[in-house]
């Protein structure tokens, strides 16, 4: 692709500069290994955890049951009308990201983001099959021989297996995992299961295997938001240029007229970078703060007998102080700032409020929708009848007998549409199936002369647990509507 007007101008489209990160060992690499293990284990294992909920509910610990509109998470079961719990969790996740960003910078990008984790995984596959950085580069530039084709096919097959395993694990969150796996392989699973698995296999394959750091640099909005959120007190991975510059190799340093800095320009920090940037150019959008350059640089510094942490986790303010000769500030002090504490406070408050709401919520509920057409009905004896559609929700995983009653509306009685009017009473009993919402048509009848008024439907489970809920509704009579 050339620019249309003149030759020699910059190309319109730029080919990706391939990144071949070198393997590195060190504190942060080990942390990344461990964290990668944890995150991948959580992702792949969670659907297989079991949680006994009795005979009426699924026994999968974490299950998003879209077909039945239930969300299970260990001991918690959420119904669609309680979606505010999920909304609360999402808000907590958002504020949690703010909190983490304020405290430790782009730690999400560097350690936990699925794009990072899977890219990291795929890069290990690269090293396993093609060898380390130099071997990878050689193979990249090599002609398409049988050897290269074999290696590429093997690598891409491994990519595909990992991707399929990833896409396949995703769908297990939405149905009983063992059953779904059996159905999946016997061809009996729902089409949407195959579709979702195929789609996620494809996205994992393309995003993790090929697009990699381009997702972070071009597609993801998060680095942009991060640049707005970071301040001079945020921990970032940074190169201490006042210590490193002017850079030069050990040999050059021997012949230089003025003393050179600690950086020997070995480019190890660039070689290990999974996004292919040069951290010495300063903080930039491509830096996901995975801190592998710290590991690489520390190794070089220790070999040279120079102090470590030429590249370091530091705040801009801390750097200024250090540059001026001050002591390195403690990490704890960096973390305990008003801004961090306020985010932590907000995050905890929402969390506690959610926990409180979760702990005190009633596991049954009543609501009543009044008939709008007709709003009232005069019967032959002059009494007035109003129709209601009552919903009784039983959120326990056992059948419950619930007594529905009328509060207020003197002289009124009610009966449901499977009873006769002669059985009308102030209350009636309904058995609600476990984990179900039952709908009952109810007729409330009040003697002639009753005025239009509000009244309440009450619900009271007849069991040891008890409890009480009510719903205010309205009774209409002729001439008062």
């Amino acid at each position: 692709m050339r620019a249309p007007d003149t030759a020699g101008t910059a190309p319109l489209y730029e080919k990706r500069k391939s990144v071949f990160p070198k393997s590195v060992d060190g504190r942060f690499r080990r942390l990344k290994w461990a964290w990668m293990g944890v995150t991948l284990a959580i992702y792949y294992v969670t659907p297989w955890l079991r949680w006994d909920r009795g005979p009426y509910a699924p026994d999968q610990a974490v299950l998003i049951d879209l077909a039945h509109r239930r969300f299970y998470m260990f001991g918690i079961e959420i119904w669609p009308h309680e979606f505010y719990f999920v909304a609360g969790l999402l808000i907590m996740a958002g504020i949690g990201l703010f909190l983490v960003t304020t405290a430790v910078g782009r730690a999400w990008c560097g350690y936990s983001c699925p794009q990072t984790v899977w890219t990291d995984l795929f890069q290990h596959v690269d090293r396993l099959i093609d060898g380390d950085r130099n071997a990878q580069m050689r193979l990249q530039n090599a002609p398409w021989t049988t050897h290269k084709i074999a290696k590429r096919s093997l690598k891409w097959s491994v990519y595909l297996v990992i991707s399929f395993w990833t896409g396949g694990a995703w769908i297990l969150y939405f149905a009983d995992a063992p059953t779904l796996v059996r159905d999946f392989w016997s061809g009996n699973a729902a089409p949407v299961a195959y579709g979702a698995a195929a789609l996620l296999t494809a996205t994992t394959f393309v995003l993790g295997g090929f697009l990699r750091e381009q997702v972070c640099i071009y597609m993801c909005p998060w680095p942009r938001i991060q640049s707005a959120m970071l301040d001079e007190n945020s921990l970032i991975v940074t190169y201490k240029d006042w210590r490193g510059e002017p850079r030069g190799s050990v040999k050059e340093a021997r012949h230089a007229s003025t003393p050179l800095g600690d950086c020997i320009d070995c480019d190890q920090c660039v070689a290990v970078c999974p996004t292919g940037i040069d951290i010495r150019e300063g903080p930039q959008i491509g830096c996901i703060t995975c801190a592998l350059c710290i590991d690489a640089c520390d190794k070089v510094m220790s070999q040279l007998g120079r102090p470590p942490r030429l590249i370091d986790y530091a705040t801009l303010q801390g750097c200024e102080r250090e540059k001026a000769g001050g002591a390195k500030e403690s990490v704890l002090k960096t973390l305990l700032r008003p801004r961090t504490l306020v985010y932590l406070g907000v995050w905890c408050t929402i969390g506690l409020a959610l926990l409180f709401a979760l702990g005190t919520r009633q596991h049954f509920d009543i609501s009543a929708a009044k008939d709008r057409n007709p709003v009232y009905m005069v019967l032959s004896d002059g009494s007035v009848r109003n129709g209601f559609t009552i919903k009784l929700r039983n959120m326990e995983s056992r059948p419950r007998e619930i007594e529905v009653g009328i509060e207020g509306l003197p002289g009124a009685a009610m009966w449901s549409d499977d009873m006769a009017r002669s059985q009308a009473a102030r209350s009636l009993k309904a058995t609600v199936a476990p984990d179900q919402a039952d709908t009952i048509r109810i007729y409330v009848i009040a003697p002639a002369g009753t005025k239009a008024q509000d009244f309440k439907f009450t619900a009271r489970p007849i069991d040891a647990e008890g409890g009480s809920q009510d719903h205010t509704s309205h009774f209409d009579v002729p001439g008062d509507v």
């Binding site: 692709m1 910059a10 489209y13 730029e14 990706r16 709008r372 032959s380 002059g382 009848r385 006769a420």
Partner: protein, 308 residues
């Protein structure tokens, strides 16, 4: 004009324009973006080939897959009909008398009847089946002109009321006592006094006593000696609180002077027996449906009204 240069900080070439010192970098697009763009073009071509796309003189190009939204609808309708076929055939073979003994079937029938009611019945009886005062009866209440159990409702829907040309339709004709000069204006006023007395709207008076005599002679044959109505004639109960044509003195005088004779069409020519059965179930479910045996007064009516 063209002052393209390499920006020092980024190493990227500028586009060459400059506005008050502000320049724009000419950062190349990533190549994958181009590939994505090509992919969308390939997708678009594929879409145009397999789906209807190009406008022609008549309609549009069909597309290789032959997809159409009407086809979707037809397929969905076929599927829905197929899924209902079993229930419908069960309703078809179940006599309406035993429908109440099968709650699941009854529920399905009520749901089907509700849908059919919305299409065929709401024009007169209203979407809430509350009728129109002075014109069409309310189907929610517990007052029935011709009977309110499932079988009677089915009969009413099938053959209508006063439907010309249907030999099984139920019919009756109240005389227009005023217009046809069967009663004088004063006599009508007296009868009305009696009617409003037995319906507890007025206190007994000399007029109502005179009216009672006239009622026994002229009205009791259909409305019954006590004025409680007789369903084999569709004669309404005059002692209750429900008045299709109004219960005020003025309205009752009008009804006596120019009698009403509401007509309901017979539906058996337009609807199949299963739909009619489901409609009967729906109307019965509206809160006033009567059982086959329980109300003692209805028993005699059903007996009197029995048909072969």
């Amino acid at each position: 004009m063209s002052t393209k240069r390499i920006d020092e900080a980024t190493g990227t070439q500028t586009v060459g324009h400059e506005w008050d010192g502000i320049e724009e970098l000419d950062t190349p697009m990533p190549r994958w973006w181009l590939w994505t763009f090509y992919l969308t073009i390939v997708f678009a071509i594929g879409y145009v080939v397999v789906y209807p796309a190009f406008p022609m003189l008549h309609g549009a190009s069909k597309g290789l897959w032959g997809w159409s939204s009407r086809g979707d609808l037809a397929a969905e309708t076929r599927k829905a009909n197929a899924s209902r076929a079993n229930v419908l055939s069960q309703i078809a073979v179940t006599p309406i008398q035993s429908l109440q003994g099968k709650p699941e079937l009854m529920k399905a029938a009520v749901a089907g009847g509700r849908a059919a009611f919305r299409v065929n019945c709401v024009q007169c009886h209203g979407s809430g089946a509350a009728g129109v005062p002075g014109l069409y009866p309310n189907l929610n209440d517990d007052d029935w002109l011709w009977g309110g159990n499932l079988q009677e409702i089915e009969q009413t829907i099938t053959h209508g009321i006063r439907q010309p040309g249907d030999k099984d339709t139920r019919t009756s004709l109240m005389p227009s006592f005023g217009r046809n000069q069967l009663l004088t204006t004063d006599q009508i006023e007296d009868v009305v006094s009696h009617v409003r007395t037995i319906s507890h709207q007025e206190k007994a008076s000399a007029a109502s006593a005179r009216g009672a005599k006239l009622f026994a002679d002229n009205c009791a044959v259909c409305h019954g000696p006590a004025g409680t109505g007789q369903r084999q004639f569709g004669a309404p109960n005059l002692t209750d609180k429900i008045w299709l044509y109004g219960g005020s003195r003025e309205k009752v005088v009008q009804s006596l002077t120019n009698a009403h004779a509401g007509v309901m069409p017979a539906w058996h020519e337009r609807l199949d027996p299963v739909t009619i059965k489901m409609l009967a179930a729906y109307v019965h479910s509206l809160g006033g449906g009567e059982d086959f045996a329980t109300p003692a007064q209805a028993d005699t009516k059903i007996a009197a009204n029995a048909r072969p």
